[in-house]
């Protein structure tokens, strides 16, 4: 297989987890741990698929996927932010719910072929050797994914909104005392995370596979969650991690095809092994660990006074 094709496959494999992970990063930066990424992805996958089939437009499909993912995440938001339910348990429940719910709406869509998502036309740029196929031969969502990462990075770093988001994730009591609306900010972050996960799911069902099958996310949501930790909550590292983890998936498939005797199981568990390794590395220095993870991650906020 030519390197151009390998890289192309890698980027396609990386985009769903990149989208889901950047959304989860924003959610976690606000101090909320949503373990329902897998569920939001698969609901996004079926919503996007269904809307694209019914309307005939992949673009509308992606919009529908974002809405579907966001709607599901807001169930989590209301439960954890207003009803103060435990975030870990609620997130796991959301995943299970999402898997079942998507299978239910997806019943009529098995075996249907979705409208093709066109690649962007860059004209002569695509014809440049190597650079052309690698950089300028993708569909819009690949670039949207990178743009979202850039946007999140710039927002967190340079804008007041980003600073307030970080502040809420760092110390919700202090943010409340200063008059910031902790719950509202967190709900927005949760919805953003859900929308991104939905986009990631739709990328699977509309571009990568493209088809609808039950449970088609097959653990991509969990890889996205691991990816956030791997990236130690830094947006650009999400891109690196997504390509790394995506590359492993592509490698896995290609090795299987080539008949090389590397256990597939070893490769499929490698993203998690790498994440655990990164976790050990960042927590070996106590001070640095405390600075990378949002301090209030997973804690319940209950406004006093």
């Amino acid at each position: 297989m030519s390197p151009e094709l390998l890289i192309d496959a890698l980027i396609i494999a990386a985009t769903p987890i990149l989208l889901a992970a950047i959304g989860e990063l924003v959610t976690e930066k606000s101090g909320v741990l949503n373990l329902g990424v897998e569920g939001m992805m698969i609901v996004g996958a079926i919503c996007g698929f269904a809307v694209a089939i019914e309307s005939g437009s992949p673009a509308l499909g992606f919009a529908g996927a974002a809405l579907g993912g966001a709607a599901l995440s807001l169930i989590f938001g209301v439960l954890t932010q207003y009803l103060l339910s435990n975030q870990v348990a609620t997130g796991l429940a959301l995943t299970l719910f999402g898997l079942g719910f998507s299978a239910m709406i997806g019943q009529g869509y098995v075996g249907v072929v979705p409208p093709a998502t066109p690649k962007l036309d860059f004209g002569p740029l695509t014809d440049i050797p190597f650079v052309g196929p690698v950089l300028f031969n993708h569909d819009l969502m690949v670039y949207v994914g990178i743009a979202i990462v850039a946007g999140v990075w710039a927002t967190l770093r340079y804008t007041r909104a980003g600073m307030i988001l970080r502040a809420v994730g760092e110390n919700h009591d202090a943010a409340h005392a200063l008059g910031y609306k902790v719950i509202r900010i967190r709900l927005l972050a949760i919805a953003f995370g859900g929308a991104c996960a939905g986009l990631g799911g739709a990328y699977l069902s509309l571009v990568r596979v493209p088809q609808w099958t039950e449970g088609m996310t097959a653990g991509a949501g969990w890889i996205a969650l691991a990816l956030v930790v791997f990236a130690s909550w830094k947006p650009w590292r999400i891109v690196i991690g997504a390509w790394l983890f995506g590359g492993i998936t592509v490698l896995q498939l290609n090795l299987q095809v080539a008949g090389v005797k590397v256990p597939v199981e070893l490769l499929s568990m490698s993203p998690y092994l790498i994440t655990i390794l990164v976790l050990v590395l960042i927590s070996s220095d106590r001070r640095r660990a405390s600075l990378s993870a949002p301090a209030e991650l997973g804690r319940v906020f209950h406004a006093a006074g």
Binding site: R160, A167, N171, G179, A295
Partner: protein, 525 residues
């Protein structure tokens, strides 16, 4: 009368079961430093939160500069010129100084201008700060400066300070007072909340005293004695702790040239720390924060292990024993950090009672908990130490700092342990409760226990301790008898001028260094 900056009339706020503020009225003139005094739970915090827009009063009116003032939220308060420095800092450790300042402002200027403004104001008021540093890297005093500068950048007309000095060193307190006086001279009014009556006498122009949510008195602090104000606050006469002379007995707890390298880059190593405490005595260990007191405390409680043979309890080597073993052998401790260290925040008082005293008090039988006995034991502590709480089923987190402190100290003291080690026994505790705790420590010693008190409150140590020693950069000075100490000598000890083995610099009457300290103590007694 019309010149008042802020006027409160009839402020009332009730919570289920408590009337936190009951018809509170007072005024603050422009540039006045006004003290708000009261015991824990007297309603100071609620009142201040109402002024800052965090709490909506049920009744009553506020006027600011003659206009009706109804802040719906902190933003509105800040817009009206009211700023507040919180008791538990409202800072974000992973954010920079400039970001922290910016978060507390309504419309902050762009980054570079803000950084310049921070430098400008920090120089003008003598509050050194680097805008780009992470707040997590700053000392407690540094963090407070961030809070103050955050307020000052908005040119407030009224600055509210909630217990600002409880975490500062004496030097930092001096700097703070200079800043506050300067602000006052520039016509910024200050509402100052503190337990420390001497500070209020030195700083404030007027004081309003609250008790059970009501105003019980107003006075000019400089014209009253600290004791008079304390009695107004408490509503009863205060008796200073009685010092009963007891004859010291055998050495109970002894440290022999205890040396321990620093665990992290922010910790202080312990260098050849030696002392001996005998029954009937209190050893007071003072010093500026961060000179090794926390590390010494961790070694004494058993959280960190020391080299074998450096720590002895009743002649037995306990350097390698863990906290439970030490408790079983009669060494009880009360660490400084109440929530998460001395008590488990989300567990009830009964459960917290069980955690340290289960075995000793017979609250366990064959691995099962005897709940009725545990509840009774917790109730006994609550009653003996006047812990204000609905009952032993309440979570430790729900108690105010002072009340929880009474509980964690009381929990150990009621069992009359042979050796008791306590760090900052009255930190953040009001005058009446502090007196109770100090009296309890002295009574404990008088009944034959050996007590070690680590504290940053010098007055407290001099009031209750038999022996005084100071920590400086991980060394402990030779313990000296409090009765024979002069203030200059104490200053010298705090500054590290009297280290063991410093030879010629030590005063001629200093006791011999290191392990002979115990013998010397016997000789002096």
């Amino acid at each position: 009368m019309t010149s008042a900056l802020l006027r409160l009339s009839g402020i009332t706020k009730s919570y289920p079961g408590v009337r936190a503020n009951d018809d509170v009225s007072f005024e603050i003139a422009p540039g006045e430093i006004h003290a708000l005094l009261g015991e824990n739970g007297a309603g100071k915090s609620t009142l201040v939160k109402a002024i800052y827009g965090l709490v909506k009063p049920d009744a009553g009116q506020m006027t600011l500069n003659g206009e009706r003032y109804v802040p719906a939220e902190p933003r509105a308060a800040r817009a009206a010129g009211v700023a507040m420095v919180f008791q538990h800092f409202s800072l974000f450790e992973a954010l920079s100084v400039a970001e922290n300042v910016s978060l507390g402002m309504e419309d902050p200027p762009p980054r570079r201008r803000l950084a310049a403004r921070i430098r400008e104001v920090s120089q003008a008021y003598g509050l050194p700060l680097e805008p780009d540093r992470l707040v997590g890297d700053l000392s407690v005093g540094g963090r407070q400066r961030v809070e103050i500068i955050r307020c000052l950048l908005q040119n407030p007309r009224l600055l509210i300070m909630d217990e600002p000095t409880s975490v500062l060193t004496p030097q930092e307190v001096d700097t703070l007072f200079t800043t506050l006086r300067k602000l006052s001279a520039e016509c910024t009014a200050i509402l100052y909340i503190s337990h420390k009556l001497e500070e209020i006498r030195a700083l404030c122009d007027a004081a309003t005293i609250l008790r059970h949510g009501k105003v019980v008195g107003e006075c000019v602090p400089a014209a009253r004695s600290a004791r008079e104000m304390a009695e107004m606050m408490v509503g009863t006469d205060l008796t200073p702790p009685e010092r009963s002379e007891t004859r010291p007995g055998a050495v109970m707890l002894e440290a022999r040239a205890l040396t321990l390298p620093a665990a992290t880059q922010f910790a202080t190593p312990l260098r050849e720390v030696s002392f001996a405490v005998r029954t009937g005595e209190i050893l007071g260990i003072g010093g500026v924060a961060g000179n090794g007191q926390d590390e010494l405390m961790a070694v004494l409680t058993g959280e960190t292990r020391a080299p074998a043979g450096t720590l002895l309890l009743g002649g037995e080597d306990i350097a390698l024993a863990g906290p439970s073993d030490r408790r079983a052998m009669g060494l009880r401790t009360a660490p400084e950090e109440r929530l998460g260290h001395a008590a488990a925040p989300d567990m009830s008082l009964t459960e917290n009672m069980l955690l340290t005293s289960g075995a000793a008090e017979g609250l366990l039988s064959r691995g099962f908990v005897r709940w009725a006995a545990a509840r009774e034991a917790a109730e006994k502590v609550i009653e003996t130490f006047d812990v204000r709480t609905p009952g032993p089923a309440v979570a430790a987190r729900a108690l105010s700092g002072g009340n929880l402190q009474k509980f964690v100290v009381g929990r150990e003291v009621v069992q009359s342990p042979p050796v008791f080690v306590v760090n900052q026994p009255t930190w953040g505790v009001d005058a009446a409760a502090a007196a109770t705790i100090r009296q309890a420590l002295m009574t404990l010693a008088a009944t034959g226990s050996a007590v070690v008190v680590v504290s940053q409150d010098l007055d407290e140590l001099l009031e209750i301790a038999t022996w005084f020693a100071a920590m400086n950069e991980g060394t402990l000075s030779v313990p000296r008898r409090v009765a024979t100490l002069s203030l200059e000598e104490i200053g010298l000890m705090l500054g590290g001028g009297e280290r063991p083995g410093n030879g010629p610099e030590a005063p001629p009457d200093a006791t011999p260094p290191r392990t002979q300290a115990a013998e010397a103590a016997r000789a002096q007694a």
